[in-house]
């Protein structure tokens, strides 16, 4: 049976920029009618360059911003935060991990409190239970008990991203939106965080919407891929389809621009250089 966790139809988001003394008002069309659906336990990757609307789309899916028009379904139920507002039940279903682990954690909050806060806001769990669940989650993401009372500045970038992932998982969401979760990390730490995400997906049957501009990461982690360009989805299909037969010219440009680290392309480059 198909179990669709997230479905979006014709999502449009316009931003109105008010005119000032010297300029007239104008409208920016950030997202222009994107349709997508993700099944339970699968990963959809959204790729595109900066300014293509991928983070705006992430904010709409995470129910931070309402869409200007279009329909959003989460677990089969229609959601419209512009009208109905955001209930704690909805917030429990969708969570997000941001790009910059240095900016997304409050520097004056201990890690234990960071992890307990989603429970405090969205559930009626008593303090003892919040503490226990935070501790369990801390170990699940590969940190230790002694880290519970430390502050964010005492952690490395990779550890902070683990904390951000742990915080997002505190409410047992069914959908996790990852907005460039590894682009600020070193190669080896990136590998650790990607492994952690894969482990967690297996364990909790999580559904991921993974936003990235790094095609090698996308190729590794995604089941389906969407390529965005100026607010439109120019390519959408299974990973193998998109990578083997890109249809749109922008996708091909993107593939051509991605640096290749295999031996054949190094040989080809060196040969071209000697010939020149």
């Amino acid at each position: 049976m198909r179990n669709v966790v997230l479905e979006a139809r014709d999502i449009v988001r316009d931003y109105h920029i008010g005119g000032g003394l010297f300029s007239s008002a104008r409208t920016v069309h950030a997202v222009k009618g994107v349709t997508l659906s993700v099944e339970k336990g699968r990963t959809l990757a959204i790729v595109g360059e900066s300014g293509c609307g991928k983070s705006t789309l992430a904010r709409i899916i995470t129910l931070i911003d309402p869409a200007t028009s279009g329909e959003l379904f989460i677990d089969g139920a229609k959601v419209d935060i512009a009208r109905g507002g955001l209930t704690p039940e909805l917030r429990r279903k969708v969570q997000i991990v941001f790009q910059n682990p240095y900016g997304s954690l409050n520097p004056r909050q201990k890690i234990g409190d960071v992890l307990g806060e989603p429970l405090l806001i969205n559930t009626g769990a008593p303090a003892g239970e919040r503490r226990d669940r935070a501790m369990t989650m801390l170990k699940k993401v590969g940190l230790e008990e002694k880290h519970f009372n430390r502050y964010p500045h005492m952690f490395s970038g990779g550890q902070r991203q683990r904390i951000a992932i742990a915080r997002a998982l505190m409410l047992n969401p069914s959908l996790l939106v990852l907005d460039e979760p590894v682009s600020a990390l070193d190669l080896s730490v990136q590998a650790q965080v990607l492994n952690l995400l894969a482990d967690l997906q297996d364990e909790f049957h999580l559904t991921y919407v993974f936003i990235s501009h790094d095609l090698s990461v996308v190729r590794y982690i995604a089941d389906e891929v969407m390529v965005m360009y100026y607010g439109e989805a120019v390519e959408y299909g299974s990973r193998d389809e998109v990578f083997s037969e890109p249809q749109h010219s922008y996708t091909r440009t993107l593939f051509a621009a991605t640096p290749r680290a295999d031996i054949d392309s190094i040989k080809a480059r060196l040969a071209a250089k000697t010939a020149a």
Partner: protein, 283 residues
């Protein structure tokens, strides 16, 4: 003779808990017309060693080296004033954040002409003509009009082009690019790398690219140095580094690339024990 020759470079910072060694005995050399890539993760001392060569570290840093020769002059023996005559002229550097490394208060034209005013004996009209020529060389459309633009009016890729224009303004012999494309999109990254390599070939510069991206290394370098925790792990030409890496650390780094993934999980550096890798690489 090599353009830049560094032997046993050590950089130490005094901290509350004693001296911290950021660069620990690194030796390197760059020839004219050569592209050298220095790869490593954050904290591997790759930027610090280049800043030490440029003389841009704060006074708290203690820089020592057995040898520090650039184009026949010993950099360690130069006074501050003599060193400033070389830096920006014969030896130039591009930084990671193009938006942050340009001064937001001045037009890009002013900032390009400033280098020419300090280092070259040019009058105002010659400087303006050279600035237009430089912007054209780095591929900016309508260069004469763009001279009056401020950095915030340009995109990240354009700012990086302006930075490159400033760096190559005095036809340097050596160009150091510190993570020149990290803040940019892949399509723009490709353009900037192509531009750097084109300029390097045209002017016969020595080029040092500092990066953590193995793809960038594969696309640009002739020779590669791999650094970890301030030490040199491996030095090899680009093909043998990728085809048959010698040190365990390089092997670990290459297998952590997602495109080399074989199973559902990626091998991580800790699987290889980097401390043992250091012990193995010192031989």
């Amino acid at each position: 003779m090599a353009l830049l020759e560094i032997e046993n470079l050590v950089v130490e910072f005094d901290t509350a808990s004693g001296p911290f060694r950021a660069v620990d005995g690194v030796s390197l050399s760059v020839a004219r017309r050569e592209v050298l890539a220095i790869v490593g993760e954050s904290g591997s001392g790759k930027s610090v060693s280049m800043l030490a060569i440029m003389g841009l570290l704060p006074w708290t840093a203690k820089v020592t080296a057995d040898r520090m020769d650039f184009d026949g002059t010993d950099l360690a023996k130069l006074g501050v004033a003599d060193r400033r005559k070389i830096i920006g002229k014969d030896m130039a550097m591009i930084f990671q954040e193009p938006m942050a490394s340009l001064n937001p208060c001045f037009t890009v034209g002013f900032q390009i002409e400033e280098v020419l005013r300090v280092h070259m004996n040019m009058d105002r009209r010659q400087r303006r003509a050279r600035a237009v020529e430089l912007l054209e060389a780095v591929g900016i459309q309508e260069p004469a009009d763009r001279l009056g633009s401020y950095p915030h009016q340009m995109s990240g890729g354009q700012c990086q082009r302006v930075m490159i224009a400033i760096a190559i303004a005095c036809n340097p012999k050596l160009l150091i690019a510190d993570e020149p494309t990290t803040a940019l999109d892949v399509t723009i990254q490709k353009q900037i790398l192509d531009l750097l390599i084109k300029l390097q070939a045209e002017h016969g510069m020595g080029l040092i690219i500092i990066t953590h991206n193995m793809g960038v290394v594969a696309e640009t370098a002739d020779r590669v140095i791999v650094q970890y925790k301030g030490r040199k792990m491996e030095e090899a030409d680009v093909l043998s580094l990728f085809a048959s890496p010698k040190s365990n650390y390089t092997k670990a780094l290459l297998s952590a690339l997602p495109e080399n993934a074989t199973g559902k999980r990626l091998p991580t550096i800790s699987d290889y024990d980097p401390e043992a890798a250091i012990a193995g690489a010192t031989s």
